[in-house]
Protein backbone atom coordinates (compact mmCIF):
# COMPACT_ATOMS: atom_id res chain seq x y z
CA UNK A 1 0.00 0.00 0.00
CA UNK A 2 2.83 2.42 0.81
CA UNK A 3 5.41 0.99 -1.61
CA UNK A 4 7.44 -0.84 1.03
CA UNK A 5 7.58 -4.64 0.60
CA UNK A 6 4.59 -6.23 2.35
CA UNK A 7 5.56 -8.69 5.07
CA UNK A 8 2.23 -9.00 6.86
CA UNK A 9 -0.56 -10.73 4.96
CA UNK A 10 -4.04 -10.68 6.36
CA UNK A 11 -6.81 -12.86 4.97
CA UNK A 12 -10.26 -12.03 6.26
CA UNK A 13 -13.42 -14.00 5.68
CA UNK A 14 -16.46 -11.95 6.52
CA UNK A 15 -19.86 -13.47 5.75
CA UNK A 16 -18.37 -15.79 3.15
CA UNK A 17 -16.44 -12.99 1.35
CA UNK A 18 -12.69 -13.47 1.29
CA UNK A 19 -10.49 -10.40 1.30
CA UNK A 20 -6.72 -10.30 1.34
CA UNK A 21 -4.78 -7.30 2.57
CA UNK A 22 -1.03 -6.96 2.41
CA UNK A 23 0.76 -4.59 4.77
CA UNK A 24 4.34 -3.60 5.34
CA UNK A 25 5.23 -3.84 8.99
CA UNK A 26 4.79 -0.14 9.71
CA UNK A 27 1.41 0.06 8.01
CA UNK A 28 0.32 -3.12 9.72
CA UNK A 29 0.87 -1.58 13.13
CA UNK A 30 -1.10 1.49 12.10
CA UNK A 31 -3.71 0.03 9.78
CA UNK A 32 -4.39 -3.05 11.80
CA UNK A 33 -4.98 -1.10 14.98
CA UNK A 34 -8.72 -0.77 14.48
CA UNK A 35 -9.25 -4.40 13.61
CA UNK A 36 -9.81 -6.85 16.48
CA UNK A 37 -9.17 -9.84 14.22
CA UNK A 38 -5.82 -8.38 13.35
CA UNK A 39 -4.89 -8.09 17.00
CA UNK A 40 -5.61 -11.75 17.51
CA UNK A 41 -3.50 -12.57 14.50
CA UNK A 42 -0.67 -10.47 15.80
CA UNK A 43 -0.84 -12.18 19.17
CA UNK A 44 -0.68 -15.55 17.46
CA UNK A 45 2.29 -14.47 15.38
CA UNK A 46 4.06 -13.28 18.51
CA UNK A 47 3.30 -16.50 20.32
CA UNK A 48 4.91 -18.55 17.57
CA UNK A 49 8.04 -16.40 17.56
CA UNK A 50 8.45 -16.61 21.35
CA UNK A 51 11.75 -17.97 22.49
CA UNK A 52 11.44 -21.47 23.92
CA UNK A 53 12.27 -21.75 27.61
CA UNK A 54 13.00 -25.48 27.64
CA UNK A 55 14.55 -27.55 24.86
CA UNK A 56 15.00 -31.34 24.92
CA UNK A 57 18.69 -31.97 24.25
CA UNK A 58 17.92 -35.32 22.63
CA UNK A 59 15.23 -34.42 20.11
CA UNK A 60 15.20 -30.58 20.17
CA UNK A 61 11.53 -30.50 21.13
CA UNK A 62 10.58 -27.28 22.97
CA UNK A 63 7.93 -26.16 25.42
CA UNK A 64 6.41 -24.11 22.60
CA UNK A 65 6.10 -27.25 20.47
CA UNK A 66 4.28 -28.86 23.36
CA UNK A 67 1.86 -25.97 23.61
CA UNK A 68 1.22 -26.29 19.89
CA UNK A 69 0.97 -30.10 19.64
CA UNK A 70 -0.12 -31.28 23.09
CA UNK A 71 2.26 -34.20 22.71
CA UNK A 72 5.91 -34.77 23.50
CA UNK A 73 8.86 -35.31 21.18
CA UNK A 74 10.61 -38.36 22.59
CA UNK A 75 10.84 -40.47 25.77
CA UNK A 76 13.59 -38.18 27.14
CA UNK A 77 11.21 -35.20 26.98
CA UNK A 78 9.48 -36.68 30.02
CA UNK A 79 12.63 -35.90 32.06
CA UNK A 80 13.30 -32.55 30.44
CA UNK A 81 9.75 -31.27 30.93
CA UNK A 82 9.19 -33.02 34.26
CA UNK A 83 8.23 -29.90 36.22
CA UNK A 84 5.56 -28.41 33.92
CA UNK A 85 4.24 -31.89 33.10
CA UNK A 86 3.83 -32.73 36.76
CA UNK A 87 1.23 -29.99 37.07
CA UNK A 88 -0.61 -31.21 34.01
CA UNK A 89 -0.54 -34.82 35.21
CA UNK A 90 -2.00 -33.76 38.51
CA UNK A 91 -5.02 -32.37 36.74
CA UNK A 92 -5.64 -35.13 34.18
CA UNK A 93 -4.37 -38.24 35.93
CA UNK A 94 -5.21 -40.02 39.16
CA UNK A 95 -1.77 -39.66 40.68
CA UNK A 96 1.73 -38.90 39.46
CA UNK A 97 3.30 -42.22 40.51
CA UNK A 98 3.02 -45.24 38.23
CA UNK A 99 1.28 -48.16 39.94
CA UNK A 100 1.05 -50.69 37.15
CA UNK A 101 3.07 -53.27 35.34
CA UNK A 102 6.74 -52.94 34.47
CA UNK A 103 8.37 -54.16 31.25
CA UNK A 104 9.19 -57.85 31.24
CA UNK A 105 12.54 -58.69 32.83
CA UNK A 106 12.75 -55.35 34.57
CA UNK A 107 12.32 -55.27 38.32
CA UNK A 108 11.01 -51.83 39.12
CA UNK A 109 13.12 -49.64 41.38
CA UNK A 110 10.18 -49.40 43.71
CA UNK A 111 10.05 -53.12 44.08
CA UNK A 112 13.76 -53.15 44.85
CA UNK A 113 13.29 -50.37 47.39
CA UNK A 114 10.56 -52.39 49.00
CA UNK A 115 12.84 -55.42 49.16
CA UNK A 116 15.52 -53.28 50.79
CA UNK A 117 13.21 -51.97 53.48
CA UNK A 118 11.94 -55.47 54.25
CA UNK A 119 15.51 -56.75 54.50
CA UNK A 120 16.42 -53.79 56.75
CA UNK A 121 13.59 -54.59 59.13
CA UNK A 122 14.61 -58.22 59.17
CA UNK A 123 18.22 -57.26 59.83
CA UNK A 124 17.29 -55.05 62.78
CA UNK A 125 15.20 -57.86 64.14
CA UNK A 126 18.11 -60.28 63.71
CA UNK A 127 20.44 -57.89 65.55
CA UNK A 128 17.99 -57.52 68.43
CA UNK A 129 17.71 -61.26 68.76
CA UNK A 130 21.51 -61.49 68.56
CA UNK A 131 21.42 -63.58 65.42
CA UNK A 132 24.54 -61.90 64.03
CA UNK A 133 25.15 -64.45 61.33
CA UNK A 134 21.78 -63.78 59.76
CA UNK A 135 22.19 -60.02 60.19
CA UNK A 136 25.48 -60.09 58.32
CA UNK A 137 23.91 -62.08 55.55
CA UNK A 138 21.10 -59.54 55.27
CA UNK A 139 23.57 -56.64 55.35
CA UNK A 140 25.35 -58.09 52.31
CA UNK A 141 22.05 -58.65 50.57
CA UNK A 142 21.02 -55.03 51.15
CA UNK A 143 24.33 -53.75 49.84
CA UNK A 144 23.84 -55.78 46.70
CA UNK A 145 20.28 -54.53 46.21
CA UNK A 146 21.40 -50.94 46.69
CA UNK A 147 23.71 -51.18 43.67
CA UNK A 148 20.66 -51.86 41.49
CA UNK A 149 18.90 -48.58 42.15
CA UNK A 150 20.00 -45.02 41.44
CA UNK A 151 21.56 -43.30 44.46
CA UNK A 152 19.48 -40.47 45.84
Amino acid sequence: MCGVIATVHLTQIIQGKVSKIHYCEACANKGGAGDPAFFELQKLAQATTLKPAIVCPVCKFTDIDFRRLGRLGCPSCWDVFAAPLDQLLNSVQHDSQHMGRVPVGELSFNQIRKQISTALAEMNHAIKSENYEKAAQLRDEIAKLKTQIPTE
Binding site: C59, M99, G100, V104, N110
Partner: protein, 357 residues
Protein backbone atom coordinates in the same frame (compact mmCIF):
# COMPACT_ATOMS: atom_id res chain seq x y z
CA UNK B 1 -2.53 -60.71 1.55
CA UNK B 2 -4.97 -57.89 1.11
CA UNK B 3 -7.82 -56.03 2.71
CA UNK B 4 -10.08 -58.28 0.65
CA UNK B 5 -8.93 -61.22 2.78
CA UNK B 6 -9.95 -59.28 5.86
CA UNK B 7 -13.43 -58.86 4.44
CA UNK B 8 -13.93 -62.45 3.37
CA UNK B 9 -12.31 -64.28 6.28
CA UNK B 10 -14.49 -65.58 9.07
CA UNK B 11 -13.55 -63.73 12.21
CA UNK B 12 -14.36 -63.02 15.81
CA UNK B 13 -16.79 -60.13 15.40
CA UNK B 14 -18.78 -61.08 12.34
CA UNK B 15 -18.89 -64.86 12.33
CA UNK B 16 -18.27 -66.29 15.75
CA UNK B 17 -21.64 -67.85 16.28
CA UNK B 18 -22.67 -68.00 19.90
CA UNK B 19 -20.07 -65.58 21.23
CA UNK B 20 -22.36 -62.60 20.85
CA UNK B 21 -24.03 -61.30 23.96
CA UNK B 22 -26.92 -59.01 24.69
CA UNK B 23 -25.88 -55.40 25.46
CA UNK B 24 -22.07 -55.75 25.27
CA UNK B 25 -20.96 -56.18 21.67
CA UNK B 26 -17.25 -56.40 22.30
CA UNK B 27 -14.43 -55.95 24.79
CA UNK B 28 -11.27 -54.15 23.78
CA UNK B 29 -7.90 -53.71 25.48
CA UNK B 30 -5.31 -51.30 24.15
CA UNK B 31 -1.74 -50.76 25.33
CA UNK B 32 0.39 -47.82 24.20
CA UNK B 33 4.12 -48.56 24.03
CA UNK B 34 7.19 -46.77 22.66
CA UNK B 35 10.75 -47.66 21.82
CA UNK B 36 13.47 -46.26 24.02
CA UNK B 37 15.74 -43.65 22.37
CA UNK B 38 13.47 -42.96 19.43
CA UNK B 39 11.38 -39.83 18.86
CA UNK B 40 7.60 -40.31 19.00
CA UNK B 41 5.98 -40.68 15.55
CA UNK B 42 4.50 -37.19 15.52
CA UNK B 43 7.93 -35.60 16.04
CA UNK B 44 10.15 -38.11 14.20
CA UNK B 45 11.56 -37.46 10.74
CA UNK B 46 10.47 -39.62 7.82
CA UNK B 47 13.65 -41.74 7.91
CA UNK B 48 13.31 -42.27 11.66
CA UNK B 49 9.70 -43.33 11.29
CA UNK B 50 10.71 -45.85 8.63
CA UNK B 51 13.37 -47.26 10.92
CA UNK B 52 10.87 -47.50 13.78
CA UNK B 53 8.30 -49.21 11.56
CA UNK B 54 10.86 -51.77 10.35
CA UNK B 55 11.96 -52.57 13.89
CA UNK B 56 8.43 -52.95 15.21
CA UNK B 57 7.13 -54.99 12.29
CA UNK B 58 10.13 -57.31 12.50
CA UNK B 59 9.53 -57.91 16.21
CA UNK B 60 5.80 -58.40 15.72
CA UNK B 61 6.01 -60.90 12.90
CA UNK B 62 8.25 -63.12 15.01
CA UNK B 63 5.48 -63.67 17.57
CA UNK B 64 3.48 -66.86 17.27
CA UNK B 65 0.22 -64.94 17.53
CA UNK B 66 1.13 -63.06 14.37
CA UNK B 67 1.98 -66.12 12.33
CA UNK B 68 0.72 -65.49 8.80
CA UNK B 69 -0.53 -62.08 9.97
CA UNK B 70 -1.73 -59.35 7.66
CA UNK B 71 0.85 -56.60 7.37
CA UNK B 72 -0.46 -53.35 5.97
CA UNK B 73 1.59 -50.27 5.25
CA UNK B 74 -0.92 -47.46 5.09
CA UNK B 75 0.88 -45.78 2.18
CA UNK B 76 0.40 -48.89 0.06
CA UNK B 77 -3.37 -49.08 0.54
CA UNK B 78 -6.10 -47.25 -1.34
CA UNK B 79 -8.33 -44.77 0.51
CA UNK B 80 -11.13 -47.31 0.40
CA UNK B 81 -9.02 -50.10 1.89
CA UNK B 82 -7.85 -47.84 4.69
CA UNK B 83 -11.44 -46.85 5.50
CA UNK B 84 -12.52 -50.50 5.59
CA UNK B 85 -9.91 -51.12 8.29
CA UNK B 86 -11.20 -48.13 10.28
CA UNK B 87 -14.79 -49.31 10.00
CA UNK B 88 -13.69 -52.67 11.39
CA UNK B 89 -11.97 -50.92 14.29
CA UNK B 90 -8.73 -52.61 13.27
CA UNK B 91 -6.95 -49.28 12.88
CA UNK B 92 -7.76 -45.72 13.93
CA UNK B 93 -8.52 -42.66 11.85
CA UNK B 94 -5.34 -41.13 13.16
CA UNK B 95 -3.25 -44.00 11.76
CA UNK B 96 -4.59 -43.69 8.24
CA UNK B 97 -4.10 -39.93 8.06
CA UNK B 98 -0.61 -40.00 9.56
CA UNK B 99 2.68 -40.79 7.87
CA UNK B 100 4.51 -44.13 7.78
CA UNK B 101 1.69 -45.84 9.61
CA UNK B 102 1.42 -49.61 9.49
CA UNK B 103 -0.71 -52.31 11.06
CA UNK B 104 -0.05 -55.93 11.83
CA UNK B 105 -3.30 -57.85 12.20
CA UNK B 106 -3.62 -61.45 13.35
CA UNK B 107 -5.35 -63.96 11.08
CA UNK B 108 -8.46 -64.14 13.27
CA UNK B 109 -8.56 -60.30 13.52
CA UNK B 110 -8.63 -60.35 17.32
CA UNK B 111 -5.18 -58.75 17.68
CA UNK B 112 -4.01 -55.74 15.76
CA UNK B 113 -0.97 -53.65 16.45
CA UNK B 114 -0.76 -50.18 15.00
CA UNK B 115 2.74 -48.92 14.29
CA UNK B 116 3.52 -45.20 14.14
CA UNK B 117 0.14 -44.00 15.27
CA UNK B 118 0.40 -41.45 18.11
CA UNK B 119 2.82 -43.90 19.76
CA UNK B 120 5.26 -46.33 18.19
CA UNK B 121 3.09 -49.29 19.17
CA UNK B 122 -0.59 -49.56 19.94
CA UNK B 123 -1.40 -53.13 20.89
CA UNK B 124 -5.10 -53.90 20.58
CA UNK B 125 -7.01 -57.02 21.43
CA UNK B 126 -10.73 -57.38 20.85
CA UNK B 127 -13.23 -60.12 21.66
CA UNK B 128 -16.91 -60.42 20.93
CA UNK B 129 -19.04 -60.10 24.08
CA UNK B 130 -17.86 -59.07 27.53
CA UNK B 131 -14.63 -60.92 28.34
CA UNK B 132 -12.34 -58.48 30.09
CA UNK B 133 -10.09 -61.02 31.78
CA UNK B 134 -9.29 -63.18 28.75
CA UNK B 135 -8.92 -60.14 26.48
CA UNK B 136 -6.48 -58.61 28.97
CA UNK B 137 -4.52 -61.85 29.24
CA UNK B 138 -3.82 -61.86 25.51
CA UNK B 139 -2.76 -58.20 25.56
CA UNK B 140 -0.47 -58.88 28.51
CA UNK B 141 1.15 -61.82 26.73
CA UNK B 142 1.71 -59.72 23.62
CA UNK B 143 3.18 -56.92 25.72
CA UNK B 144 5.60 -59.28 27.44
CA UNK B 145 6.61 -60.93 24.19
CA UNK B 146 7.29 -57.57 22.56
CA UNK B 147 9.10 -56.31 25.65
CA UNK B 148 11.58 -59.13 25.44
CA UNK B 149 12.64 -58.26 21.90
CA UNK B 150 12.27 -54.46 21.93
CA UNK B 151 13.60 -51.92 24.37
CA UNK B 152 10.47 -50.23 25.65
CA UNK B 153 10.52 -46.67 27.03
CA UNK B 154 9.71 -46.89 30.73
CA UNK B 155 10.33 -44.83 33.81
CA UNK B 156 10.01 -45.99 37.34
CA UNK B 157 7.95 -42.98 38.32
CA UNK B 158 5.83 -42.49 35.21
CA UNK B 159 5.56 -46.04 33.91
CA UNK B 160 5.33 -46.55 30.17
CA UNK B 161 6.24 -43.32 28.44
CA UNK B 162 3.86 -42.15 25.74
CA UNK B 163 3.62 -39.20 23.37
CA UNK B 164 0.55 -37.81 25.11
CA UNK B 165 0.26 -37.20 28.88
CA UNK B 166 -3.20 -38.76 28.85
CA UNK B 167 -1.79 -42.23 28.13
CA UNK B 168 1.34 -42.32 30.27
CA UNK B 169 1.67 -44.90 33.06
CA UNK B 170 -0.08 -48.11 32.18
CA UNK B 171 -0.76 -46.97 28.61
CA UNK B 172 -3.94 -48.94 29.09
CA UNK B 173 -7.32 -48.19 27.61
CA UNK B 174 -9.96 -50.81 28.29
CA UNK B 175 -13.30 -50.40 26.63
CA UNK B 176 -16.63 -52.02 26.08
CA UNK B 177 -18.78 -51.48 23.03
CA UNK B 178 -22.28 -51.40 24.44
CA UNK B 179 -25.66 -51.37 22.77
CA UNK B 180 -28.10 -49.24 24.76
CA UNK B 181 -31.38 -48.87 22.84
CA UNK B 182 -33.42 -49.18 26.04
CA UNK B 183 -31.70 -46.31 27.79
CA UNK B 184 -31.78 -44.25 24.59
CA UNK B 185 -35.49 -44.78 23.99
CA UNK B 186 -36.26 -44.04 27.64
CA UNK B 187 -34.30 -40.78 27.33
CA UNK B 188 -31.84 -41.66 30.10
CA UNK B 189 -28.69 -41.78 28.03
CA UNK B 190 -27.49 -38.25 28.80
CA UNK B 191 -27.90 -38.78 32.50
CA UNK B 192 -26.00 -42.06 32.28
CA UNK B 193 -23.15 -40.64 30.25
CA UNK B 194 -22.84 -37.71 32.65
CA UNK B 195 -22.56 -40.12 35.57
CA UNK B 196 -19.92 -42.14 33.74
CA UNK B 197 -18.00 -38.99 32.89
CA UNK B 198 -17.98 -37.86 36.49
CA UNK B 199 -16.55 -41.20 37.51
CA UNK B 200 -13.58 -41.06 35.16
CA UNK B 201 -15.00 -42.93 32.19
CA UNK B 202 -15.30 -41.67 28.63
CA UNK B 203 -18.37 -42.29 26.48
CA UNK B 204 -17.82 -42.20 22.75
CA UNK B 205 -19.67 -43.11 19.56
CA UNK B 206 -19.32 -46.12 17.29
CA UNK B 207 -16.05 -45.11 15.64
CA UNK B 208 -14.39 -43.65 18.71
CA UNK B 209 -13.41 -40.11 19.51
CA UNK B 210 -15.65 -37.42 18.07
CA UNK B 211 -18.14 -39.70 16.37
CA UNK B 212 -21.86 -39.94 16.98
CA UNK B 213 -23.61 -42.84 18.61
CA UNK B 214 -24.95 -44.61 15.54
CA UNK B 215 -27.30 -47.49 16.24
CA UNK B 216 -27.44 -46.69 19.98
CA UNK B 217 -23.93 -48.10 20.27
CA UNK B 218 -21.45 -46.52 22.65
CA UNK B 219 -17.85 -47.12 23.48
CA UNK B 220 -17.08 -46.80 27.19
CA UNK B 221 -13.51 -46.61 28.40
CA UNK B 222 -11.25 -45.50 31.23
CA UNK B 223 -9.71 -42.04 30.99
CA UNK B 224 -6.93 -42.17 33.54
CA UNK B 225 -3.83 -44.26 32.99
CA UNK B 226 -1.40 -43.07 35.64
CA UNK B 227 -1.51 -43.71 39.37
CA UNK B 228 -3.83 -46.68 39.04
CA UNK B 229 -2.87 -50.30 38.48
CA UNK B 230 -4.25 -52.26 35.54
CA UNK B 231 -6.30 -54.31 38.00
CA UNK B 232 -7.93 -51.23 39.50
CA UNK B 233 -8.65 -49.72 36.07
CA UNK B 234 -10.27 -52.93 34.85
CA UNK B 235 -12.26 -53.44 38.01
CA UNK B 236 -13.61 -49.91 37.83
CA UNK B 237 -14.77 -50.31 34.25
CA UNK B 238 -16.05 -53.82 34.98
CA UNK B 239 -18.25 -52.62 37.83
CA UNK B 240 -19.74 -49.87 35.70
CA UNK B 241 -20.41 -52.18 32.77
CA UNK B 242 -22.17 -54.64 35.06
CA UNK B 243 -24.26 -51.81 36.42
CA UNK B 244 -24.96 -50.44 32.94
CA UNK B 245 -26.06 -53.83 31.60
CA UNK B 246 -28.50 -54.07 34.49
CA UNK B 247 -29.87 -50.58 33.88
CA UNK B 248 -30.25 -51.31 30.19
CA UNK B 249 -32.20 -54.50 30.89
CA UNK B 250 -34.45 -52.65 33.31
CA UNK B 251 -35.10 -49.92 30.75
CA UNK B 252 -35.95 -52.49 28.07
CA UNK B 253 -38.29 -54.47 30.29
CA UNK B 254 -40.02 -51.31 31.43
CA UNK B 255 -40.45 -50.10 27.85
CA UNK B 256 -41.81 -53.45 26.67
CA UNK B 257 -44.23 -53.51 29.56
CA UNK B 258 -45.40 -49.91 29.37
CA UNK B 259 -45.57 -49.62 25.59
CA UNK B 260 -47.00 -53.11 25.03
CA UNK B 261 -48.10 -53.52 21.41
CA UNK B 262 -46.48 -50.20 20.51
CA UNK B 263 -43.09 -51.68 21.46
CA UNK B 264 -43.68 -54.81 19.37
CA UNK B 265 -44.84 -52.60 16.51
CA UNK B 266 -41.66 -50.54 16.66
CA UNK B 267 -39.53 -53.67 16.27
CA UNK B 268 -41.77 -55.15 13.57
CA UNK B 269 -41.68 -51.93 11.54
CA UNK B 270 -37.90 -51.91 11.61
CA UNK B 271 -37.77 -55.46 10.31
CA UNK B 272 -40.35 -54.66 7.63
CA UNK B 273 -38.43 -51.62 6.39
CA UNK B 274 -35.09 -53.44 6.40
CA UNK B 275 -36.66 -56.33 4.50
CA UNK B 276 -38.33 -54.28 1.81
CA UNK B 277 -36.49 -50.99 1.37
CA UNK B 278 -34.76 -50.38 -1.93
CA UNK B 279 -32.59 -47.60 -0.61
CA UNK B 280 -31.05 -47.72 2.86
CA UNK B 281 -28.69 -45.11 4.26
CA UNK B 282 -26.09 -46.33 6.72
CA UNK B 283 -27.59 -44.26 9.55
CA UNK B 284 -31.05 -45.67 8.90
CA UNK B 285 -29.88 -49.26 8.70
CA UNK B 286 -27.74 -48.92 11.83
CA UNK B 287 -30.68 -47.56 13.82
CA UNK B 288 -33.08 -50.23 12.63
CA UNK B 289 -30.58 -53.04 13.07
CA UNK B 290 -30.29 -51.76 16.63
CA UNK B 291 -34.01 -52.53 17.08
CA UNK B 292 -33.52 -56.02 15.65
CA UNK B 293 -30.61 -56.71 17.95
CA UNK B 294 -32.79 -55.75 20.89
CA UNK B 295 -35.54 -57.99 19.49
CA UNK B 296 -33.08 -60.93 19.53
CA UNK B 297 -32.06 -60.15 23.12
CA UNK B 298 -35.67 -60.02 24.30
CA UNK B 299 -36.94 -63.08 22.47
CA UNK B 300 -38.99 -61.28 19.77
CA UNK B 301 -36.57 -62.87 17.30
CA UNK B 302 -34.48 -66.03 17.78
CA UNK B 303 -31.36 -65.32 19.79
CA UNK B 304 -29.33 -67.25 17.22
CA UNK B 305 -29.91 -64.44 14.73
CA UNK B 306 -27.92 -61.97 16.79
CA UNK B 307 -24.62 -62.70 15.04
CA UNK B 308 -26.30 -61.95 11.71
CA UNK B 309 -27.32 -58.51 12.96
CA UNK B 310 -23.81 -57.83 14.26
CA UNK B 311 -22.37 -58.78 10.92
CA UNK B 312 -24.73 -56.42 9.09
CA UNK B 313 -23.88 -53.60 11.47
CA UNK B 314 -20.23 -53.94 10.46
CA UNK B 315 -20.69 -54.83 6.82
CA UNK B 316 -23.34 -52.18 6.17
CA UNK B 317 -20.87 -49.35 6.65
CA UNK B 318 -20.11 -47.23 3.56
CA UNK B 319 -16.58 -48.45 2.77
CA UNK B 320 -17.59 -52.07 3.32
CA UNK B 321 -20.47 -51.75 0.86
CA UNK B 322 -18.20 -50.03 -1.64
CA UNK B 323 -15.46 -52.65 -1.28
CA UNK B 324 -17.87 -55.56 -1.73
CA UNK B 325 -19.36 -54.01 -4.80
CA UNK B 326 -16.02 -53.56 -6.46
CA UNK B 327 -17.00 -50.63 -8.67
CA UNK B 328 -17.26 -47.00 -7.68
CA UNK B 329 -20.68 -46.23 -6.29
CA UNK B 330 -22.31 -42.88 -5.67
CA UNK B 331 -24.29 -42.41 -2.49
CA UNK B 332 -27.56 -43.67 -4.05
CA UNK B 333 -25.72 -46.66 -5.46
CA UNK B 334 -24.38 -47.47 -2.00
CA UNK B 335 -27.81 -47.15 -0.42
CA UNK B 336 -29.18 -49.50 -3.08
CA UNK B 337 -26.39 -51.97 -2.64
CA UNK B 338 -26.83 -51.88 1.14
CA UNK B 339 -30.59 -52.42 0.84
CA UNK B 340 -30.00 -55.51 -1.32
CA UNK B 341 -27.41 -56.96 1.08
CA UNK B 342 -29.62 -56.37 4.12
CA UNK B 343 -32.74 -57.71 2.40
CA UNK B 344 -30.96 -60.90 1.37
CA UNK B 345 -29.42 -61.44 4.78
CA UNK B 346 -32.72 -60.96 6.61
CA UNK B 347 -34.87 -62.97 4.19
CA UNK B 348 -34.80 -66.09 6.32
CA UNK B 349 -35.70 -64.34 9.59
CA UNK B 350 -39.12 -65.15 11.12
CA UNK B 351 -41.60 -62.36 11.87
CA UNK B 352 -41.39 -60.38 15.11
CA UNK B 353 -43.54 -62.08 17.72
CA UNK B 354 -44.09 -61.27 21.36
CA UNK B 355 -42.22 -63.76 23.52
CA UNK B 356 -44.43 -66.09 25.48
CA UNK B 357 -44.07 -65.24 29.16
Amino acid sequence: MSVEDILSAENELTHLLGAQQAVVLSTRVRLARNLQNHPFPGWAKEAQRKEIADKCIKALTQLSRFKKAHIFKMSELTDLERTVLVERHLVSKELITGKSGAAVISRDQTCSVMVNEEDHLRIQVVKAGWHLRSTWNIAEQLDDALGSSLEIAFSDKLGFLTACPTNVGTGLRVSAMVHLPGLCLAGHIEKVSRALGQDGLAVRGWLGEGTEALGNIFQISNQQTLGLSEEVIMKHLGNWIKNLVEQEWNARRKLAEEEGPRFTDRLARSLAVLRSAHLLTSVESMNMLSHLRMACDLGYLPETSRHLIDRLIIEGQPAHIQARHGKDLDSDGRDRSRAIAVREALAGLPEITEPSA
